[in-house]
């Protein structure tokens, strides 16, 4: 075989496989992986943006309620002590008058 025959063989026209066009089209329409990851990240960020403030608000409300409850118990304890001291004073006063 001559060099010319080899060249002709190498450059001869070969038809594309029948599903070639479909495969190319399928590849081009498929979303790239990085894009999908970005969409997921964005969705996660949006979900967190919605959840975190609500959780923080709930936590703060809970803390405020606990603090208020402690204050209420302190207030009632002081009231109790005061009422008992008043009772003692009244008793002392009554005795001294008798």
């Amino acid at each position: 075989m001559s060099f010319e025959d080899d060249l002709r063989k190498a450059l001869r026209h070969e038809p594309a496989p029948p599903d070639f066009a479909a495969k190319v089209l399928a590849r081009t329409s498929r979303t790239p992986t990085y894009r999908r990851a970005a969409v997921l990240a964005l969705a996660a960020a949006l979900a967190l943006a919605a959840i975190i403030p609500a959780a923080v608000h709930r936590y703060r409300r809970h803390q405020r309620a606990l603090e208020a409850k402690d204050q209420l118990i302190t207030a009632l304890s002081i009231t109790k002590v005061q009422l008992q001291q008043m009772k003692e004073k009244i008793r002392r006063n009554t005795r001294s008058k008798l």
Binding site: R61, R64, A65, L66, A68, K69, Q71, L72, I73, T74, A75, L76, I78, T79, K80, Q82, L83, Q84, Q85, M86, K87, K89, I90, R92, N93
Partner: protein, 180 residues
């Protein structure tokens, strides 16, 4: 026209009754070594009541219908660290409310007062305690619906003297100062 003025006067009086700035009492504690300032009202008070746990459950009926709880408690290192005059605006305010003074004890340099707002059916619309000692001042002001038994519960076995005064007044047909 007269009616309008009367209405305005009543409205102003009602407004004046509802407002006492408890922050004005904070100056009492300027030189205190220990101080407790508590102001609970509105949503904060409701939150506190709702958060009372099982171990405080017995308090719940006592505090369920309260509207406001104000406590100012100060302890001082030495005498003369506060001016009794700073308590006068509160006394004057309570006088405008026409609450009944059920305890008024004066011993040496100490003054102890209890005021209540009597309501029908052994109920109280409020309680105020002013206790001024040389090295200690306590002011307690509670508004809302309280039963006399709640008050007795709150003060341990106290409550009998003052509540008795109220009941004796009623039995004897005496008119106590009308509560608003």
């Amino acid at each position: 026209m007269k009616k309008a003025f009367l209405f305005l006067a009543i409205a102003l009086a009602a407004f004046a009754q509802q407002t006492f700035d408890f922050k004005t009492l904070d100056k009492l504690g300027a030189k205190a070594k220990e101080s407790t300032n508590i102001t609970l009202e509105g949503d904060t008070l409701k939150l506190a009541v709702n958060f009372l746990e099982a171990d405080n459950a017995s308090l719940k009926p006592v505090v369920d219908n309260l509207k406001g709880v104000y406590v100012r408690s100060y302890e001082f290192d030495k005498e003369g660290q506060y001016a009794d005059a700073d308590l006068e605006p509160l006394r004057a305010y309570i006088n405008t409310l026409q609450w009944t003074k059920i305890v008024d004890v004066k011993e040496d340099k100490e003054t102890s007062e209890i005021y209540v707002k009597p309501l029908p059916n052994n109920r109280l619309g409020g309680l105020a305690i002013i206790d001024a000692e040389p090295k200690e001042v306590n002011v307690i002001y509670i508004t809302g619906d309280l039963s006399t038994s709640d008050l007795a519960k709150l003060g341990g076995n106290f409550g009998i003297p003052d509540m008795k005064f109220l009941h004796d007044d009623k039995k004897a047909g005496k008119k106590s100062t009308p509560a608003r």
